[in-house]
Symmetry: C2
């Protein structure tokens, strides 16, 4: 068996996938297997009892949002009752930042990879980014959190959806490539990408049917939220990573995700099995009034960006990010350089001006991670450990090395190496 060849095949599929953001729809209408009383969440599978504070908070918020509970007490009781199913976003072609909770009524972005390709469209989904302050993805569920989600469903989703229709979609891969030349890394710094996203949408939103004040508010929200594009970028990365999944004999990592308790990975040649271990707590900078004691362990599906060769892997392109996550511009450069050691290719679309337009390191090879003892780097937001509080900082984290070791053992066993 030629593992190198299998990995080259897998990473080639990842790189050549061209995800288009084609629309906005309601989760129940488009996400495979989505149903009432099912909540999707970030990371590998987890039951209510083991969920961390921010994930529980987001679950409570989603149950309130769906009208399945009237208050926190009812929502908690319902979540504990076993009448609600919890499944990973990743099991439903979806990804969500931080808690990553998606419920049936929520508006979601629709990504179609190579929609005109002859081998059939590959779709991926993510929820809409809520911006800053008290937000569901950080486990907040106060009335203003739910009000914003309702506004996003009622006002923002139709306007953005009709704008995307008018535009014929947005090429997210091209957008990310451009943003990497503008100081973004595509995960924790999406300032330029979000401005590009807002720029594409704004004229069409301004012209869409509806109240002018609503159009103005949506345009303002898209432009002022430097994470507007994070969710479609994540869904695009999910489509790229999924394209690399399921290649027989490949040791490529095709998913990294955290639920706030466990960090899990999946491997191209190992089917749908998750390899998990307790998630670490990020090292980083804390907002005024918070310390590491407030931090929840690492959470979110946003590590799909690193899986697809951006995020911390492209940090050399984003020196200004260190004001947010700690470190120096040299550290940012070194982060990318180190990742070349554990990847199998350099991206053809995503390039880094600071490294003479070298392609980003892409395609994490399980074997290299274990051999060199170098785990993938991740840029991330930091959630408060208690439900309902929100973001307390941003920083850097790595997955536990033992999940790569166990995955490699499983690989050796499956392929009788």
């Amino acid at each position: 068996m030629n593992i190198d060849q299998a990995n080259a095949d897998a990473v080639g599929r990842m790189i050549s996938t061209r995800p288009m953001l084609t629309g906005v729809a309601t989760a129940r209408d488009v996400i495979p297997g989505m149903r009432e009383r099912l909540l999707l969440h970030a990371g590998p599978p987890i039951e209510w009892q083991r969920m961390s504070g921010p994930l529980r908070g987001a679950v409570i918020g989603a149950l309130l949002f769906e009208g399945l509970a009237a208050d926190e007490t009812e929502a908690t009781a319902l979540a504990e009752s076993g009448e609600i199913d919890f499944e990973p976003c990743h099991h439903h072609a979806s990804v969500g930042p931080m808690a990553g909770v998606i419920s049936a009524s929520m508006a979601v972005y629709v990504i179609e990879a190579d929609p005109k390709g002859s081998d059939g469209a590959r779709r991926a989904f993510s929820n809409l980014n809520e911006g800053y302050g008290k937000v569901l993805r950080y486990g907040a569920f106060a009335p203003e959190v739910l009000d914003k989600l309702r506004w996003m469903n009622r006002v923002m989703a139709p306007l953005v959806g009709s704008a995307l229709e008018a535009l014929g979609g947005i090429d997210v891969r091209a957008l990310v490539a451009e943003a990497l030349h503008m100081g973004d890394e595509g995960h924790n710094r999406n300032k330029a990408g979000s401005l590009l996203f807002a720029k594409h949408l704004a004229p069409a939103v301004a012209e869409a049917e509806g109240e002018r004040a609503d159009a103005a508010e949506v345009i303002r929200f898209l432009g002022d939220n430097a994470l507007s594009v994070l969710n479609p970028v994540m869904a695009a990365c999910k489509a790229m990573a999924d394209a690399a999944h399921g290649v027989e004999g490949s040791t490529l990592v095709t998913a990294m995700a955290r639920n706030g308790t466990d960090f899990g990975i999946r491997v191209s040649g190992l089917g749908d099995e998750w390899f998990t271990a307790p998630a670490a707590t990020p090292d980083g900078l804390y907002f005024s009034g918070f310390t590491a004691a407030d931090a929840n362990p690492d959470i979110g599906d946003s590590t799909i960006t690193e899986t697809a060769g951006i995020g911390a892997f492209a940090m050399a392109a984003a020196p200004a990010i260190v004001t947010f996550v700690s470190g120096t511009p040299r550290d940012a450069l070194d982060a990318t350089l180190e990742m070349y050691d554990i990847t199998v290719a350099e991206h053809q679309q995503f390039t880094i001006p600071q490294l003479d337009f070298r392609g980003t390191p892409v395609g994490i090879d399980l074997r290299k991670v274990v051999e060199f003892g170098v785990t993938p780097r991740v840029n991330t937001g930091i959630a408060h450990r208690e439900a309902g509080v929100g973001q307390v900082g941003a920083g850097l984290v790595r997955p536990p090395v033992e999940i790569f070791q166990r995955a490699l053992e499983a690989f050796a066993q499956k392929y009788e190496l």
Copy 2:
């Protein structure tokens, strides 16, 4: 006499000036000394006979736009007749990119520096950026060029003006500072700055009175033109440089400008005198079908950006620009590093992530330029040498060293050194 102290005073004024973009108005209503039959142009003073092709083309276009001539032949005859006055933008608190031609009816941006300061507002002006393709600033004057100028006057100017009013103005210095962290250098690469500019304006334009299709078109034009913000940035730099002008005993360069024939500079302690010499032709990359033989000598007031410590002086922040102007990211870094040798300060507002957030080199000292034989670096567009053609490339250029030598001699004479 303490020249160092005078320079410190002058550069301090430059750095501490905070230019706000407060509105859009008609040139004749706001530019000091603006009148019918006066055309402002880029660079030092020049008469029709010595004007280069692109400047002549822009003059012809402006005369057609003003309705002072019916066709090219009439416009040329009128320009030759002596009935039209030609004066530098710089003599009227204004700046314009490339040909920089501003006529009485044109819409202009209004910059007010420290508008709430007790020492009175310092105002500066620039025309509206026309985007790409056939444009007046590159000397084109075809019907579609004039149609676009009319659209800018009739549709864009009122919408952007009322948006600026609704916003209470835009802090251009803060915008540039942010853009430098997003891969811009503020002169030849204004991609991020233009997106930030469009982001600020778009919601207010969407809500302004008028046709929705017009609002959408203006939002689209602002967002798609990666030079949208160049003109207000230039006017902001003009306000900053003017604040440093007129300091007794200062050798600081407070204007660098080219009219397509001559490169001229002004010096803080030397009043309104221009020191000029023939402009060089930029080294750079040419658009398909063009070569250096097509290039006009260096043209435009946009060197006001380098004068104020951005543009080529901030090129280290913009490694991706080398795909446009030639060279490597290392060259971009070196360009900035070299400029520290001939400047007197590091900017407190404009910082470069790639250099550990070091301030940009700011405040060109005539003495250092002459002593080290290092002339300021300039990033620039390249115009076709014939009237009516347009842009043919982009590249790098330096002013002739003799103008600095002659200015230093004049300085020694004036101050009896």
